[in-house]
């Protein structure tokens, strides 16, 4: 049999932070004062045992249970039932826009609303960035027609809210539609500044 010891490995590594972390973990004994320093599953295990103490009795028994019994039952590796949100909520930023929109009417509508708004804001910020970059290119000599310039200025003024831009008048509405189709085909504005067609009216 071969013995594996993390402290031996840590000494070979020679990292003081690592050694300190491991030694602190090895020294850790459960008490109400050290509860916060325990891993999350162990904290939930302690909480379950505390609830059990309340079920057994009340009054003087509970503090005795918490301070003198639970420390013998809880270690760093104890595992209680840790409540977790569904994966689709925990990793909501990894979902597609369609999946997030589908969640808006579900049980986790609150999370979906926040994420949906975050994505909308990010999209608006992207529109503003592209419009500002286009105007900056125009300022240094890239030709741009007056209507295209006005649309880009409006995008910046409206904070990237294209619907608001389109509400200004019918002519602008059509230009905004073109603007959206152009930036979409540029895959995030990667080719912006190299295509003179973008700047024409």
């Amino acid at each position: 049999m071969v013995r594996h010891d993390v402290f031996e490995y840590a000494r070979q590594i020679g990292n003081a932070d690592l050694l300190r972390m491991l030694e602190a973990a090895a020294r850790l004994r459960y008490s109400p004062a050290t509860h916060g320093r325990f891993p999350r599953p162990a904290r939930y295990a302690a909480a379950e045992l505390l609830r059990l103490g309340y079920q057994i009795g009340s009054g003087i028994l509970v503090p005795v249970w918490a301070e003198h019994v639970i420390p013998f039952l809880v270690s760093r590796t104890s595992r209680g039932a840790v409540p977790t949100l569904p994966r689709s909520v925990v990793f909501i930023d990894g979902l597609s826009d369609e999946q997030v929109e589908a969640m808006l009417d579900g049980d986790y509508a609150e999370h979906a609303t926040v994420e949906h708004q975050r994505r909308l804001d990010a999209k608006k910020a992207r529109y503003v960035a592209i419009a500002a970059r286009t105007l900056a290119n125009h300022a240094v000599g890239m030709p741009m027609g007056p209507k295209a310039k006005r649309v880009n200025e409006l995008v910046c003024e409206c904070g990237g809210d294209l619907e608001e831009v389109a509400r200004t008048d019918e002519e602008t509405k059509e230009l905004v539609r073109e603007w959206i189709s152009k930036i979409s085909s540029y895959n995030g504005g990667a080719r912006l500044g190299t295509d003179p067609d973008f700047y024409s009216d």
């Binding site: 010891d5 590594i13 990292n15 760093r76 590796t77 595992r79 925990v90 990793f91 369609e98």
Partner: protein, 219 residues
Amino acid sequence: MTALRYVRDDSDLRVQRSVGVRGHYGSLGCARLLGEQSLLVSYMPLAHCGRKFFHGLARGYRARELTRSILVTSSHSLNPREPTRAARVVMPRPTGAPLVVACYAGRVADVRALLASGADPRAPSAEGDTPIFSCIHFGYANILEKLLATGQYDLVHQVQTSFNPCYVPPLFYLLYYWAKPDRPQLKWPGSDPLECVRLLMEAGASVDAVEAQRSLSDS
């Protein structure tokens, strides 16, 4: 990002043109996807993967030489400047389970998308490698964080993997390789073994010594 979905065969992929990527990694016929804006991330056996392969993916191509891989589509682009480690890594290469391969390749966005879609962080690859060992091997703390965020804290006690025949938990495995003078896999960009240790400890990894049938160096 478009909806993540699994493609189990090539039938619904429309090929626009083929581009041969030839080199010492082998000949890879690549095909561009039509019909969807998304970039196809093809997790094929990494034995065939190299820098050129991932550069091809970054341009929107995919390898045609798919064997038993499951494809994962997503629209986020791969950074063509990001070095692929696949060609340089000397260790058993996982195949089959996309999450294990994504962990192995250090692709955080893919790991996040797969976990959001319900991928099992315990599921091993065809070779028996598990996601946690695949990322621990390289010290990818950001991926380990995602795996533990699923709430499955028993992952830190998991021991089953093909390249860990002595069956020690991830913390011991990581420290053993960190202590070795020659540890190239813990020097990749994105590798943070100390943060990995911290995450494992916070998830309740045991620091008590363990006894195993064999030494890790025997593996």
